[in-house]
C-alpha cells in the first residue's frame, strides 16, 4: 500500500464521516440537496466518460436515466400497488407480478440500461461528431415518446407513483463513490488511454490498431449502466416518476456540469456537480423579492434559468476548458504543489 492509496482511502473515510455527520445534523433540505448532488455526480461522471474522455458528443443521459428509473421502480413496486395504479390499462402480466428488493432492482435497472446502450451503440457509432449528438438526442426523445405510449408497461402519462423511498444519503454517496472509483480506474488504465486516443484523433487511433468501435461501445455501455442505476436512485428519491421527468433538460444540466468541470476531468466533474447543484438552489435568491440597502427589488420568477443559460454561454466563450480542463487531481501533484509553495517562502 503506497502513500497515495492510503491517502485516497483516508479521504473516502472522511467523506463518509461527513455523510454520517450530515445525516444527524443537517436539515432534511440540505440532506436532500446532497443526495441530489451525489446522484448527479454519478450521472455526470459516467456522462463525462463517454463525452469528455472518449470524445463522443452524445446527448443520451435522459434516455438512459429514464430506462433505469422505470425498470427499478417497476421492480420494487408491489403487485398490489401496480394493480391500484394502472387504472387506464392493466399492466402486462409478466411485469405485474415481478417484485424484488432495492439493490437487486437497481442492479437490474442498470443492466437493462446497459443492454439497451449496447444495442443502441451499433447504429449510433456508425456516425460521428454532430450527427452522433442528434441521433442520441433523438433516442432520448424516442424513449420519452415510448414511455408515454406503452401504457401497459409504464402507465403512460400517469406515471408510477408511491414508489418506496428507499434512497437515502448512504445509498447515494455509496454509489457515487463506487462509480467514481470504477470510472477513475478505467480512465487511468490502458482502456482509458485508448479512449483518450480516440478523443484526440480517432483516425490516428484506428491507424494505431485500436479497435475504436468496441472501445466506444464499452464506454457507452458503462455510462449506460451507471446512468441507469442513477435513474433508479432518483426514482426512489422522488417516489414518483413519469415521462415528463426525463426531458432534454436533464441532459442539459449534466452537460453544464461536465463542461464547467472540464470535459474529460473527473475531478472537475466532482467540483462542478457540487457547484451547479448548490448554485442552482442558491440562485433561487434572484426569484425572491430582495431588500438590499433599503431598495426593494421584486422577485422575477424564471430569472434563474436565464442566468444559467447566460452563464453557460459565457463559460463557453471565455473559459471553455472548464475548471480543470483535462487535468485530474492526484496526490503527487498536490504534494508537488505544496512543496512549491513551501519553497517559495
Amino acid at each position: 500500500m503506497n502513500r497515495n492509496t492510503i491517502l485516497t482511502v483516508l479521504s473516502i473515510v472522511l467523506l463518509f464521516l461527513f455523510v454520517w455527520y450530515g445525516e444527524h445534523h443537517f436539515t432534511a433540505y440540505t440532506i436532500r440537496i446532497w443526495e441530489n448532488t451525489a446522484i448527479f455526480l454519478m450521472l455526470a461522471a459516467s456522462y463525462n466518460l463517454i463525452n469528455g474522455v472518449t470524445g463522443q458528443f452524445s446527448l443520451e443521459p435522459n434516455g438512459f436515466v429514464a430506462i433505469g428509473a422505470y425498470v427499478a421502480a417497476i421492480l420494487t413496486l408491489t403487485p398490489a400497488q401496480k394493480e391500484a395504479m394502472f387504472i387506464i390499462e392493466p399492466m402486462v402480466p409478466w411485469l405485474a407480478h415481478l417484485h424484488m428488493s432495492f439493490l437487486p432492482a437497481l442492479l437490474v435497472g442498470g443492466l437493462v440500461t446497459a443492454f439497451v446502450g449496447f444495442l443502441l451503440g451499433f447504429p449510433v457509432f456508425r456516425v460521428r461528431g454532430d450527427y452522433l449528438a442528434i441521433v442520441t438526442l433523438g433516442f432520448g426523445l424516442t424513449i420519452r415518446v415510448i414511455s408515454n405510449n406503452t401504457i401497459t408497461i409504464t402507465n403512460g402519462a400517469l406515471g408510477l407513483k408511491g414508489i418506496a423511498s428507499y434512497t437515502n444519503i448512504w445509498w447515494c454517496f455509496g454509489w457515487a463513490v463506487l462509480s467514481m472509483i470504477i470510472i477513475m480506474r478505467i480512465v487511468n488504465s490502458a482502456f482509458g488511454r485508448a479512449m483518450k486516443a480516440i478523443r484526440d484523433d480517432e483516425d490516428a487511433a484506428i491507424a494505431m490498431g485500436i479497435n475504436t468501435f468496441w472501445i466506444k461501445m464499452a464506454a457507452f455501455v458503462i455510462a449506460a449502466f451507471f446512468e441507469g442505476v442513477g435513474g433508479g436512485l432518483l426514482a426512489h428519491l422522488i417516489t414518483t416518476i413519469s415521462p415528463t421527468m426525463f426531458t432534454f433538460f436533464l441532459t442539459f444540466e449534466l452537460l453544464i456540469i461536465i463542461v464547467v468541470g472540464g470535459l474529460g476531468s473527473m475531478t472537475g466533474t466532482v467540483i462542478a456537480t457540487v457547484l451547479v447543484i448548490w448554485g442552482s438552489e442558491l440562485l433561487r435568491v434572484v426569484e425572491q423579492p430582495m431588500n438590499i440597502f433599503g431598495l426593494h427589488i421584486p422577485g422575477i420568477p424564471g430569472m434563474r434559468m436565464v442566468i444559467f443559460s447566460v452563464l453557460l454561454i459565457v463559460i463557453m466563450i471565455f473559459a471553455r476548458e472548464g475548471i480543470m480542463g483535462q487535468r485530474e487531481f492526484s496526490w503527487d501533484a498536490f504534494f508537488n504543489f505544496l512543496k512549491k509553495v513551501r519553497a517559495r517562502r
Partner: protein, 298 residues
C-alpha cells in the same frame, strides 16, 4: 379512407412541410458554412412569431408591415447571436460551439418566458389568411394553400441569390473551404452574418405562417418544429438548400399522412422525424441530395 380526406391531408402535409422546409433552410445554410448545428434556430422562429405578435397586437401596425419588420428584426437577432455567441468559437472544437448553441437556445426560451409569460398568446390572423375555400365539397383552409406558394417564392429567390449573385457565390465557396476564401480577401465574417440573416429571416417567415395556421404562440413553441426541421435538413442532405426544402416536405407530409392512416400511432408522431433521421444516417448519411459533407455545396 376516401379521396377527400387523402387530398385534404396531402394539402395539409405539404403546408406543414413547407413550414419545416423554411426553418430547415436556416439550419442547412449555417451548417454548410460553419459546420454548426444551430440548436437555437427553432427558437429564432419563435422570436419571429413574437415580434410579429408585438407588431400587430401591441403596436397596431398593419399586418404586412408588422410581418415584414419582424422578419427583418429576426434577421438582426440571428446576426447578433452569431456575433456574440458563435464567432468567438469559430476556431474552437465543434462540441464547444454546439454546447453554446444549446445555451443560446435555452436563453432565448427562458428570456421570452420571463418577458412574455408562459400563457399562450392568441396570434392575430389577418382575415385574408383565415377562412377556407370549398372545392367540390373538399375544404381547404386558405393558409394551407398560401403557405407552400409563399415558401416556393422565397425558396426561388434564395436559390437565385445563391447561384446568380456575388454574395451567393461567396456563401457557396465558404461552405467548401473557408480558409481559402478568407485568403482570397473575402470578408468571411460578413458573409457568415449574411447567412445567419437569411436563415433567420426565413425562419421568421416560417414562424409567422405557422402562427397563422395554429394561432397560439408560447415561448417553447420552437422546440419541436426546430428539431424536426433539423431532421428535415439532414434528410435532404445537410448543406443543400433544395434538399432542406425537400426534406421538409417529406417529413411534413409523412407526419400528417401516417397519423391519418394509422390513428393509433398518433402518440408516436414526434418520433417519426427522428426515425427518418436515424434511417438516413445509417444508410445514406449524405441525405437525399447526396452531397458529401466535406465537399458541401448549396
Amino acid at each position: 379512407m376516401n379521396l377527400t380526406i387523402v387530398l385534404q391531408q396531402l394539402v395539409n402535409g405539404i403546408s406543414l412541410g413547407s413550414l419545416y422546409g423554411l426553418v430547415a433552410i436556416g439550419y442547412t445554410m449555417v451548417y454548410g458554412v460553419i459546420r454548426l448545428i444551430n440548436f437555437a434556430h427553432g427558437d429564432v422562429m419563435m422570436v419571429g412569431m413574437y415580434f410579429a405578435f408585438v407588431g400587430v397586437a401591441m403596436l397596431f401596425l398593419p399586418w404586412w408591415a408588422a410581418f415584414l419588420l419582424s422578419m427583418i428584426a429576426t434577421a438582426f437577432v440571428g446576426v447578433i447571436i452569431d456575433r456574440v455567441a458563435y464567432k468567438p468559437l469559430r476556431n474552437a472544437s465543434r462540441i464547444s460551439a454546439l454546447i453554446t448553441a444549446i445555451g443560446v437556445s435555452f436563453f432565448l426560451e427562458n428570456l421570452f418566458l420571463v418577458v412574455f409569460g408562459g400563457v399562450p398568446k392568441a396570434f392575430p390572423v389577418p382575415s385574408v389568411f383565415g377562412g377556407a375555400i370549398n372545392i367540390h365539397g373538399v375544404i381547404f383552409p386558405n393558409i394551407a394553400i398560401i403557405t407552400p406558394i409563399v415558401a416556393m417564392v422565397f425558396l426561388a429567390m434564395l436559390l437565385f441569390i445563391l447561384h446568380k449573385t456575388k454574395y451567393g457565390m461567396a456563401m457557396r465557396a465558404l461552405s467548401l473551404d473557408m480558409e481559402t476564401v478568407r485568403i482570397m480577401g473575402v470578408n468571411v465574417d460578413m458573409v457568415i452574418s449574411i447567412v445567419f440573416a437569411i436563415g433567420s429571416f426565413l425562419a421568421a417567415l416560417g414562424g409567422i405562417f405557422w402562427a397563422m395556421r395554429y394561432p397560439a404562440i408560447n415561448p417553447l413553441i420552437g422546440i419541436m418544429p426546430g428539431l424536426k426541421a433539423f431532421a428535415a435538413a439532414v434528410l435532404g442532405g445537410i448543406g443543400s438548400v433544395a434538399g432542406a426544402a425537400i426534406g421538409g416536405f417529406i417529413i411534413g407530409v409523412s407526419e400528417i399522412l401516417v397519423v391519418a392512416l394509422f390513428p393509433a400511432l398518433a402518440g408516436y408522431k414526434d418520433a417519426f422525424a427522428f426515425l427518418f433521421l436515424i434511417f438516413v444516417l445509417l444508410f445514406k448519411p449524405t441525405g437525399i441530395m447526396g452531397e458529401d459533407l466535406e465537399r458541401g455545396r448549396f
